[in-house]
């Protein structure tokens, strides 16, 4: 079987332009493609230019006409989901977004994905050829995995009726790990009482090398940017460790994070719904607990 992995390069801080390094999910899909058959790893960002989705889809479609892959894997990042959908439509192929598992059975794809904003999970079947976007961490990379050899794809944007103008960075964006790919997320809710208290959250996140998340109440109030929101109308995440600080656990939030490996919840209300899904819960006043916890984490991290 012929499989493509279409990779993406990480963004540079404060400019939003593509940097030199492949994203983690790109390594993951390249390894998955190699395990499924005859793999080609294509890199449309090699030139560092910012191309529109249309131009990328057109370039990949041209290449697919001669190369005839059976399956195209794309990382389910915001850009990857966008490209995957347009590419599938252009090719007229089956499409599944944000799959978390995949196997080939009797010439068809059997995949796992969540539906209803994470409230249920489904096994879905599609005929080949197909385009699939793969959720980060769905296929964890073996520690000894070699970097894939990528092949650049030439993208011609000259005929586009859409042009890039400029990048406007979010003032409070911290340039940390993207939420969707983070292994550790520290998420804050209304229990933090105000945006000025995020210094405490940032300090813990910094110590852990974590991405920052937030509940909807917090982004709605304008305390944190929308892009940090976890749950319905925000991001669905599945890190190794999710720490929920002062988040009560509305169903829309829980749907976006219950597939995390380990969930820690800190809340002063012992009846908060978040405690029903956590592995470790602490019923405590955040403002007393959090500084002490950050200090203890620093001790452990400092030791090794």
């Amino acid at each position: 079987m012929k499989v493509w992995a279409v990779v993406e390069r990480g963004t540079r801080d404060r400019t939003g332009a593509h940097g030199p390094d492949l994203r983690r999910v790109s390594h993951e899909i390249a390894a998955k493609a190699a395990s499924l058959g005859d793999a080609t790893v294509l890199d449309p960002h090699g030139s560092g230019e910012r191309s529109s989705t249309v131009a990328l889809a057109a370039a990949l479609t041209e290449r697919a006409k001669t190369d005839r892959p059976d399956l195209i894997l794309i990382g389910a990042t915001p850009a990857g989901r966008d490209l995957g959908a347009r590419l599938a439509a252009r090719l007229g192929w089956a499409y599944a977004s944000e799959i978390t598992d995949l196997k080939v059975e009797a010439g068809a794809l059997l995949m796992m994905r969540t539906m209803y904003a994470g409230k249920v999970r489904a096994t879905v079947r599609a005929a080949l050829p197909a385009v699939v976007s793969v959720r980060p961490s769905a296929f964890p990379l073996p520690p000894d995995a070699a970097s894939p050899t990528t092949e650049p794809i030439q993208v011609d944007a000259s005929a586009e009726k859409l042009g890039f103008q400029r990048f406007e960075p979010t003032a409070s964006a911290t340039g940390r790990v993207p939420l969707g790919e983070a292994r550790v997320i520290v998420s804050g809710g209304r229990g933090l009482k105000g945006p000025e208290n995020w210094k405490m959250v940032e300090e813990l996140a910094g110590t852990l090398g974590a991405a920052l998340g937030a509940s909807r109440a917090v982004t709605d109030a304008g305390w944190r940017p929308n892009e940090e929101q976890v749950g319905q109308t925000g991001k669905t995440v599945s890190p190794d460790l999710y720490i929920a600080l002062g988040i009560s656990g509305a169903i829309q939030h829980l749907a976006g994070m219950t597939s995390s490996k380990v969930i820690v919840a800190v809340n002063k209300d012992p009846d908060a719904d978040i405690f029903k899904v956590c592995d470790y819960g602490v019923v405590a006043d955040l403002f007393e607990f959090l500084p002490a916890f950050t200090e203890e984490v620093k001790k452990v991290k400092g030791a090794g």
Binding site: A85, A89, A117, K161, V262, Y280, E296
Partner: protein
């Protein structure tokens, strides 16, 4: 400016979705339906434009079964000018690409300057229809949009990306798939509700639109609730320092995530 918004009716976001007896679909009996949350943001963005420029008209279209009419009624009550219901026997189970072709047909007739869709509907969560619609129309599209402005030479569109926004300029018609944006979708006003009640909503039969409804299928083989969680260790006694020490020890030695 003429704006066409594509909206879908889905289970309300507060609904606890249960798996039906067949084990491969959601049990929708007795649930509350609503406009998909991102589609509501798309309607809001369009209506904000109309607030600033009364010349702007906003039409809303849905492809869906008879019940989806309530979603259109809601959109009219929010302030949309007109609504189109594409319905019929195949409307509920049409695949994304087929829906995109049907919507493209409606757009061909309505000739809008912009088509707005939510970035994904919170039922299948595929996020396919917006980009596919743009492809059928042969238009560019911009995803995860939070804002747009008319400028000399076209429309500037703010696309949310990691760490900020990219601003793209569309020189002609375009499809925008809308992300959660600054303003929450408005509630219908009382006069809006009264007006919406009497508005005619033309129906079009999906099967008679003259578009190809054959599209690659994504078949649901099995549906199940997410793996159960719970039974976690709750630390509730003792002072903050003791709890912090205990949690760090558990995370390091038991969960092995530190």
């Amino acid at each position: 400016m003429k704006i066409l918004v594509c909206a879908k009716q889905v289970p309300d976001s507060t609904v606890r979705v249960k798996v039906a007896a067949d084990g491969r679909s959601a049990d929708t009996s007795g649930i509350t339906w609503a406009i998909a949350p991102y589609d509501e943001y798309a309607i809001e963005l369009a209506l904000e434009r109309k607030d600033r420029d009364p010349q702007t008209t906003v039409s809303v279209v849905t492809v869906g079964p008879a019940r989806a009419r309530d979603a259109l009624r809601q959109a009219l009550a929010m302030g949309c000018d007109e609504a189109i219901h594409v319905t019929g026997a195949d409307a509920e189970k049409a695949e994304g690409l087929a829906v995109a072709r049907a919507l493209a047909k409606i757009a061909d007739e309505a000739k809008p300057d912009l088509v707005l869709c939510g970035r994904q509907a919170s039922d299948d969560d595929q996020g396919l229809v917006g980009p596919a619609l743009a492809d059928v129309l042969g238009w560019p599209h911009v995803a995860t949009v939070t804002r747009f402005e008319t400028v000399e030479g076209g429309t500037d569109v703010w696309k949310e990306v990691e760490g900020g926004h990219e601003v793209w300029r569309a020189s002609g018609p375009a499809v925008l798939t809308v992300q959660k944006s600054e303003k929450d979708p408005r509630y219908p006003s009382l006069p809006g509700i009264m007006k919406a009640k009497t508005k005619e909503i033309p129906e079009k039969d999906l099967g008679s639109l003259g578009v190809d409804l054959n599209a690659p299928r994504l078949e649901i083989v099995k549906m199940e609730p997410p793996p159960a969680r719970g039974g976690g260790k709750i630390l509730k006694d003792g002072d903050a320092r003791a709890a912090a020490q205990q949690l760090v020890q558990l995370l390091r030695d038991e969960a092995k995530v530190l």
